[in-house]
């Protein structure tokens, strides 16, 4: 009898403990300031630990407390499908402001909508955009081992090989527009696992041209695998490649070419974006947007950001970001995709 009683008490305590642990209560509070002070924000990052987006999230999270006077933010990695899984998960989370996602503007949010990916379980237009950061343009580099130095050399060359990850990757958009507008005799070689793989391939002399986000391109130049870029595929020059012209500076674009360049530029835009699901109370949304705006202005944040992203935080605040994301999701990339197919070496 005593044994049965003892077991009963222990079991009841255990069940109580387990239920207490399993059903955590969020502290409801008067205003958003108190709410975020008392509750932990979970950032779901759609990339593996150590990746650029992961670094971005952890850096933002490490300054969240200072911007919210004591609030906490925790990073949770959910890599998969270039951030799509994280976006899906965030979209279906409770809209209380405590679950947000961070991923790449195009691959994690806009491209699944543009491509009508059936695996995208969210409506991009309903997402709440919080902050965009670590924006950088693409730069096009010639492999260090190759004899070409300028665009003129490239125009005279035969059978150039330009690297990309896959036909639907951002790098392909850059490659296709560059080849087409300059009229190069070139093929797009698809199948590299990522930017560093392409850089290594260029270092080995396997390919001639490599498109990279500017900071990755800088690393490739520092390693001696790549030459400084022949062009910046954006509208502004890059501080650490002062001699590299922008593509519009290099070529006088016709209206048709302008449209192609704009589509490619938008489709390949490198920007890390944090978003919240629809239905989050407006006051909490505004609080988060303001808090992130404060974070990106902090000196310590800017200094640490430059360690991974030499261009610095390059923030895009909520209003501008919302306009950009809506424009990106409405974009017609068909003409650029046709060019990619035309120049792809693989059929």
């Amino acid at each position: 009898m005593k044994r049965v009683l003892a077991i009963g008490v222990v079991t009841a305590c255990a069940v109580g403990l387990v239920f207490g642990l399993v059903f955590p209560q969020t502290a409801e509070a008067a205003g958003p300031e108190e709410f975020f002070k008392k509750n932990v924000v979970n950032v779901i990052v759609g990339y593996a630990p150590g990746a650029g987006s992961d670094y971005s999230a952890r850096l933002l999270a490490s300054y969240w407390s200072a911007a919210t006077d004591g609030g906490a933010m925790v990073v949770k990695n959910m890599p998969g499908a270039a951030g799509l899984m994280a976006t899906n998960t965030m979209y279906s989370a409770k809209p209380d402001g405590l679950t947000i996602a961070l991923g790449m503007a195009l691959s994690s949010y806009a491209m699944p909508i543009i491509a009508r990916d059936p695996a995208a379980k969210f409506d991009g237009k309903k997402l709440n955009w919080l902050i965009g950061a670590f924006e950088e343009p693409w730069t096009l580099h010639i492999a260090a081992k190759k004899p070409y130095e300028t665009v003129e050399d490239l125009k005279k060359a035969k059978d150039l090989k330009v690297g990309t990850v896959s036909p639907s990757a951002s790098s392909s958009f850059i490659d296709a527009v560059f080849i087409h507008i300059l009229g190069l005799d070139a093929r797009i070689i698809s199948g590299y696992k990522g930017g560093s793989d392409m850089t290594l391939a260029a270092g080995k002399g396997e390919i001639d041209l490599v498109p990279q986000p500017a900071s990755t391109g800088l690393l490739g130049v520092q390693k001696g695998f790549l030459k400084p870029p022949v062009a910046v595929m954006g509208r502004k020059r890059v501080a650490f490649f002062p001699n590299a012209p922008t593509f519009p500076e290099l070529v006088s674009l016709t209206p048709e070419q302008q449209a192609l360049f704009k589509a490619a530029d938008t489709a390949s835009f490198v920007l890390r974006v944090a978003a919240a699901p629809p239905g989050v109370p407006t006051d909490r949304l505004r609080f988060m947007q303001d808090a992130f705006a404060k974070v990106v202005e902090m000196k310590g944040f800017q200094e640490q950001a430059k360690l991974q992203f030499p261009l610095g935080p390059t923030p895009m605040l909520a209003k501008e970001l919302t306009a950009f994301m809506n424009e990106a999701m409405d974009m017609d990339v068909g003409p650029v995709q046709a060019l990619i197919k035309k120049y792809l070496a693989i059929k």
Binding site: A48, P49, G50, A51, D54, Y55, R58, L59, A61, S62, V75, K76, N77, M78, P79, G80, A81, A82, L84, M85, N88, P118, A119, A120, K161, V165, S166, P167, S168, A169, R187, I189, S190, G191, Y192, K193, S196, D197, T199, L200, A201, G203, K204, G205, E206, I207, L219, Q222, K223, G224, Q304, L307, Q308, A345, I346
Partner: protein
């Protein structure tokens, strides 16, 4: 170089370095021992601190962690048939049967000594050959890599016991499983059924746990509640039994050295699939053995080969990460991230401006291996007693840890479904004479093989292999396949000749 070497050694005069190394060793041992936590998870947990600490605090910790996780992982692989890391999977094939025969302590001794020898020798080799190895790595383009991986694929035929056809079928199924997801060449979805979970393919950890960790527990469970791992055997748990295993490594020193070389080379070459290296080392050991039929029944060579290999692999991978800035593995990627946060940019500058730091890290790997092995040697006799634990206690506890391991890998319940599916495949495979190791090797090598093949085709056309190194590798492949039949033919001829005399 001499000055940097002196500076590197001088770093060890600072007491706090040893504290961080010990911290990394202990955390690495825990991470390796507990099946639910992987090295990458163990490193990821430390990432938030990277922002707040100094380089000579973070880097020794991480280097030590990576160096020893596989050492600890071998212990669970041997004692309960559950790999602590995917790199310990091949250790199960003979390590667990050794425990079943009551020789778990000897197996642990062999594994620990192999790990130390592999880690230390590869570190010293990396230390001395750092400037020579890199040109070799840079000369291997995609056209060469296709054949390096094909050599790995060829080992599928060697790995299993039983029907060769079933072994090849298993390898083929593994290659097919590798094709699930978005094609890395065209971006087109394959067998994803519009499920984003499958876009990145089937994940590695749940497959490894399902194929190799669950079946031994099922097998133990079928012995009944009181059944133990070493049922009906005398369990040897004295320290002299552990030392016997250590001495076995020196008895089979040439095998250990060849396995170290395999691990080091695979670690140095990014994009090959470092987790395949241990299978290749195991397959090589079986291929050259005088008694290949004994592999899988509990022979110590089956422990020495993969364990020498997996620690050597990490030294090679670290070298590539530092010198090229290209991570050779998931742990390398994390290490790269940490280096960048601390303001170091891996690449040739690590071998020029920061050579002393690079050499310090390589030495830390060697030192950590020795410390970890010493700790495990001391505890090994007690750990070997697990072979006497009744199945009714061990089975549910280990199964829970396996499931948690499958889940925490990416925090997705779908991975647990994958684990369940592959548990069924693993159990069926064991019962019906298929080859789980071959399936896993095919799965690991399938994606890089396809990638390199198509990149080579795009660059060099159909005759992309008409280059010196690929032709040499093709020759090596042919030699691999004709070696055994040729050896048998020659043996028969010599015997017949002797009989005639």
């Amino acid at each position: 170089m001499l000055e940097s070497t002196v500076q590197a050694m001088g770093n060890f005069a600072h007491f706090h370095i040893w504290l961080w190394i010990m911290g990394g060793v202990i955390w690495g041992l825990m991470v390796g021992l507990i099946p639910g936590i992987g090295t990458i998870s163990g490193m990821a947990l430390f990432l938030p601190f990277v922002f707040k600490l100094q380089p000579m605090e973070v880097l020794p910790f991480l280097a030590a962690l990576v160096a020893v996780a596989f050492t600890a992982g071998s212990i669970t692989a041997i004692l309960i048939g559950v790999p602590g890391e995917t790199a310990n999977v091949a250790t199960i094939f003979d390590g667990y049967p050794m425990t079943q025969k009551g020789e778990g302590a000897r197996a642990i001794g062999a594994a620990l000594c192999s790990s130390v020898v592999g880690g230390v020798l590869a570190s010293l080799f990396a230390f001395g050959m750092v400037f020579a190895v890199l040109p070799m790595v840079m000369s291997l383009t995609s056209q060469e890599m296709v054949f390096v991986i094909l050599i790995g694929v060829a080992f599928i035929s060697v790995l299993g016991k039983g029907s060769m056809l079933k072994g090849l079928i298993s390898g083929g199924i593994g290659l097919l499983i590798a094709s699930v997801g978005l094609s890395s060449v065209t971006g087109e979805p394959r067998f994803t059924f519009e499920n984003p979970f499958l876009y990145d393919g089937i994940h590695l950890i749940p497959v490894a746990l399902g194929l190799f960790a669950v079946p031994p527990m099922i097998e133990l469970a079928t012995k009944g509640g009181g059944g133990t791992i070493a049922e009906g055997q005398v369990v040897l748990t004295k320290r002299k039994d552990v030392w016997k295993g250590a001495r076995d490594v020196f008895r089979h020193r040439w095998l250990a050295l060849r396995s170290i070389l395999i691990g080091y080379l695979f670690g140095v070459m990014p994009g090959v699939g470092a987790s395949a290296a241990v299978f290749i080392a195991y397959g090589h050991a079986k291929h050259v053995s005088k008694h290949p039929e004994r592999f899988g029944t509990g022979v110590v060579e089956g422990v020495i080969a993969p364990e020498s290999c997996n620690n050597a692999k990490e030294s090679g991978s670290l070298l590539t990460t530092l010198a090229l800035g290209i991570p050779g593995s998931g742990t390398g990627a994390m290490f790269l991230g940490a280096l960048i946060v601390l303001g170091f940019y891996p690449g040739p500058t690590m071998l020029t401006e920061h050579l002393d730091l690079s050499l310090t890290l390589i030495l830390i790997i060697a030192v950590s291996n020795i410390i970890a092995a010493a700790i495990c040697f001391y505890l090994a006799p007690q750990m070997a007693l697990i072979a006497k634990t009744p199945g009714r206690i061990l089975v549910p506890l280990v199964l829970v840890a396996i499931f948690i391991g499958g889940f925490t890998y990416k925090g997705l319940i779908q991975d647990v479904v994958v684990l369940l599916l592959f548990s069924g495949i693993g159990v069926a495979s064991r019962r019906l004479g298929y080859n789980s190791a071959g399936l896993f090797l095919g799965y690991v090598l399938g994606e890089p093989l396809e990638n390199y093949y198509f990149v080579s085709l795009q660059i060099g056309g159909p005759l992309f292999f008409m280059r010196p190194i690929p032709l040499l590798l093709i020759f090596a492949l042919i030699a691999f396949f004709v070696y055994t039949p040729l050896k048998n033919v020659l043996k028969n001829r010599i015997r017949k000749g002797a009989q005639a005399l």
